[in-house]
Symmetry: C2
Subunit: 219 residues, 2 copies
Amino acid sequence: MTQPRLVEVRRKVLSKNDAVAGALRRRFQDAGVCVISLVSSPGSGKTAFLETVLSAMRKEFRVAALVGDLATENDAVRLARSQAPVKQICTGTICHLDASMVSNALDGWNLTELDFLFIENVGNLVCPSSYDLGENARIVLLSVTEGEDKPLKYPSIFHGADAAIITKMDLAQAVEFDAAAAHRNINAVGPGIPIFEGSAKTGAGLEAILIWVKSQVKA
Amino acid sequence: MTQPRLVEVRRKVLSKNDAVAGALRRRFQDAGVCVISLVSSPGSGKTAFLETVLSAMRKEFRVAALVGDLATENDAVRLARSQAPVKQICTGTICHLDASMVSNALDGWNLTELDFLFIENVGNLVCPSSYDLGENARIVLLSVTEGEDKPLKYPSIFHGADAAIITKMDLAQAVEFDAAAAHRNINAVGPGIPIFEGSAKTGAGLEAILIWVKSQVKA
């Protein structure tokens, strides 16, 4: 099915999103808040990662998070345990966050009171890649259980990321994870991006990731 | 961002897809081929499952498969080891298969020479749910590593499925998988659908799944 009409409408939607994202980016810069977004498949560990990061960073920084899902407030409830401000964005049937959803969700928040804002996208390795959210940096997560070939099969989202985190490293041996192949495949579609390995369960790798996150303030 | 124009165009695209899918369904029925589609997140084990099923069923039936991905021919290469006819559909940037892609991929195949055709969708728990492919039945796969909450967070795709398979059961203990919660959540959004538990690694659960697949001929 050729869908020229859909392609044209999508182009306009993306162009409108870019404009809203541009305004958001200026707003973030003016407020001095560094914004990091997270994308991955469903169940790769975005929320577990974020829970660890919020808890670790809030000792030193003012941190907050927006979390996107089609349905449920589960993630906001989980993240609230970190005691950082958290808001859930329920997208209904929409498969990704867009800049306007982020902008609307910020209503009532004073961005100048934040140092870092994390945005967890809907679990989807395809659609979120096209939508700029005004973030400073985007991190893509890949769990060892998904297979080393996923970067090659979902190239856009890895290509558009500024860093990659391989999650659930505690399961690497059980699934015979080939780390060298995963690194090779990530850098084949995202040349030169840093790749971290971690486990929210054991805490391994967190320190290096936090150093990189903090370095994004100047980026 | 309200996107009334996009919603309207999507409605037309889905309506056109339904028409193509309806024609496909009649074509499948006339040829006497039973068509089963598979949907899941990236890395839930659709291809591993299909590899096992094709190998097991081809002793008794004439089976074939279409496999969708944004990029790479990896899955078709893997599935070809089963010696069943397999074709890859590369969707480019499209996040799902549609009925026309399936119809075009069937060019050159004589459907009357098949008993079962499997269609593996792009790994995505959101977008494929809206697109009828003319199949007899749709199976959704959920791996134990993704978390028991996913059916509630991605309700449309579980609601639209005729059966669910919980995959990678060999890892259940390592990830402290709560099977009762997963069953409860699947049936909360897909009331009454059968739920199978399996492992492509150990072969556990395959027999019950094959009985169900074969029963879909009359459905």
